[in-house]
């Protein structure tokens, strides 16, 4: 009982004495970032968020993939996170309290389908009877099935296997699989071991199936600290600008952050498109407040795919997805 009284007194003291400042700033901001190449690594490496928000501890947590990020968000372990379009559609449909506030990156040839040259695969139709790998639930799994559907090929005519990217590389080198849609740096191992790129995600974007990663914020955090969200976006926009203006330095930073060679980092950078913050407000991306852009359409298309796959229980409408995309923070930063 004594301890409880003490804690209560302390809490009361905090609220009364420093009420205002305790409301304005949290003790710590936790940023979950994905293990992939985008300007968030630059922002982190240069400490840009800490520059914008000087008196709050900033903690970065590296998250392996979309599934892990969803779990981290569901458990409330991060304030900011990043998600590809499939996990975003999953999270929003399952009612996770997040909203998308920033384009982290558009996926180009950093994600691609490699086919074994000796297997004589020249078109998607040649995949019939072959073993094809993709990490299920990822952007590339989505694109593989969309590409097959577009050409009217039944996925059941081939063996589609669920493998994590590192195991795809191993299976490829062993000769267990003949095609795989996955991403760098492991993608390069397939190309160097008798593989060639048949189609990459940038081409699919041109055909109307863009894939991307979006920066998300926990709704409660955004309501409590709207100014901090704006500061966060300001830092991320500065990181994107740095990427666009200093490609060589950026490659060094990425090589350091992800323990890659500078050569690998450069290749991955070139296969990833960064969108300057002012462009993010156009209809092709987030759109503007009140007129949400094509990101909402991609979410609908992704959710349709997941519902067909029986992996989502219901299909949200475009309006429902659009309500969870909030370009106002980027608009605030760009408008300054």
């Amino acid at each position: 009982m004594k301890t409880i009284a003490k804690v209560t007194a302390l809490a009361l003291g905090l609220v009364c004495g420093h009420g205002a400042s305790a409301q304005d700033k949290p003790e710590k901001i936790t940023i979950g970032y994905l293990n992939l190449v985008n300007a968030q690594l630059v922002t982190k490496n240069l400490g840009l968020v800490a520059e914008e928000i000087p008196d709050v501890e900033i903690e970065y947590i590296k998250v392996g993939g979309g599934g892990d990020m969803l779990r981290a968000i569901a458990a409330g372990q991060v304030d900011f996170g990043g998600l590809g379009n499939p996990p975003t559609a999953i999270g929003l449909t399952r009612g996770l309290p997040i909203k998308g506030i920033l384009v982290l990156n558009m996926l180009g040839y950093v994600e691609a389908m490699a086919v074994r040259t000796s297997a004589g695969i020249e078109s998607l139709a040649d995949l019939k009877g072959k073993r094809v790998a993709a990490p299920f639930g990822s952007t590339t799994h989505y694109l593989l099935l969309k590409a097959l559907a577009e050409e009217g090929i039944d996925p059941a005519t081939m063996e589609i296997l669920d493998l994590p990217p590192s195991d795809i590389a191993v299976a490829w080198v062993r000769g267990d699989i003949d095609a795989a849609w996955f991403w760098e740096p492991n993608l390069n191992k397939a190309v160097q071991n008798g593989g060639e790129i048949m189609v990459h995600s940038g081409e699919m974007a041109e055909r109307g199936y863009p894939t991307w990663d979006i920066g998300v914020v926990m709704e409660e955090f955004a309501e409590t600290y709207p100014d901090l969200v704006t500061s966060f976006i300001k830092a991320e926009c500065a990181g994107i600008d740095f990427w666009l203006e200093n490609p060589e330095k950026t490659a060094e930073i990425i090589a350091e952050e992800l323990s890659l060679s500078v050569e690998d980092a450069t290749r991955m950078m070139n296969g990833t498109e960064m969108v300057p913050c002012d462009e993010q407000l156009t209809a092709e991306y987030l759109g503007s407040p009140g007129e949400i852009g094509e990101f909402a359409d991609t979410l609908v298309s992704t959710a349709e795919f997941l519902v067909e796959q029986d992996r989502l229980p219901k299909l949200l409408t475009r309006e429902e997805f659009a309500a969870k995309i909030d370009p106002s923070y980027v608009a605030g930063v760009v408008g300054e």
Binding site: G67, I90, L96, L163, P164, D167, V170, A171, Q309, L312
Partner: protein, 286 residues
């Protein structure tokens, strides 16, 4: 609340069941105190689950209610999960577990007997087993995939490696703790090596080996999900892993319950076989 508060009503139900037995042909185990206590645990857990989920204390995303899990079960059983029915998932996993476990028994138990009897064999093999035993099976898995590929071979190997050390170590222990008087007595009566092995060592060590087998089967289960992450298209472990990626908690919990029940059933079978093969283990218990 004292233990009596729980056990007394249970004892009363037990007495009632006993009293009714001559009239109703109630199966005998239903009246046993241990069965009723076990049932009480299961019922209490289930009620807690119902209570927590129906009052909205738990987020449905993390802990769906029994009805949702039941629906997931019915759906998977009838129309299947991702191309295979629940029965096919269970069959794929049980096949992997049983084949790997049987191989581990065939290799592990004789090795354990050998190491328990012969100091030299023990010295030769100990470094190998002691080194790999604490290694997490997942750490080995990448190597196994490199060596054996993405088919069933690498999955079986991972499950086999998880089962093996427990079997070897309990078998060594079982052989070493045999009272040497048994062996000396058999020898003085002129028993051959073969007779001593099958007439003394195995019967005396049997119960401990069986305990080791039960524990090892548990270890095999612990790596099932890990084994089925790579390129499986069927299996309860894969179903759980796949559903977790899509936040389908109802399927995850359903899969865990089904997996747990198969484990309980396999354990019961092993105990039954033990009782049939080694009736002397019952001596002194009843």
């Amino acid at each position: 609340m004292t233990v009596d508060a729980v056990t007394q009503p249970i004892a009363r139900v037990g007495a009632l069941a006993k009293a009714l037995r001559p009239h109703l042909r109630v199966p005998r185990f239903l009246g046993q105190r241990s069965f009723l206590l076990s049932s009480a645990t299961v019922v209490a857990l289930f009620l807690a689950w119902v209570l927590v989920t129906s009052t909205g204390l738990a987020n449905e995303l993390f802990l769906p209610g029994p009805a949702a899990v039941w629906n997931a079960f019915v759906k998977a059983a009838i129309s299947g999960y991702q191309g295979s029915t629940l029965l096919e998932h269970v069959a794929a996993s049980l096949y992997r577990i049983l084949v790997a476990f049987a191989l581990a028994c065939v290799v592990g138990i004789p090795l354990g007997v050998l190491m328990g009897v012969s100091r030299d064999a023990n010295a030769l093999l100990t470094p190998l087993i002691e080194f790999y035993r604490p290694l997490p099976p997942l750490g080995l898995y990448t190597l196994l995939v490199m060596w054996l590929g993405i088919g069933d071979e690498s999955k079986l190997a991972l499950l086999f490696l998880a089962a093996l050390p427990g079997l070897i170590i309990t078998t060594i222990q079982a052989v070493r703790t045999i009272d040497p008087i048994y062996v000396r007595a058999a020898r003085s009566l002129g028993a051959s090596h073969r007779q001593i092995l099958f007439g003394v060592y195995l019967p005396a060590a049997g119960p401990t080996i069986l305990a080791g087998m039960r524990i090892s089967l548990g270890f095999t289960y612990t790596v099932l999900v890990a084994a089925e992450i790579v390129a499986a298209t069927a299996g309860i472990g894969w179903m759980i892993w796949d559903a977790a990626k899509f936040l389908l908690s109802d399927v995850v919990i359903m899969g865990l319950i089904v997996l747990g029940l198969t484990g309980v059933a396999l354990d019961a079978v092993m105990r039954l076989v033990g009782r049939l093969l080694m009736p002397w283990t019952l001596r002194g218990r009843q």
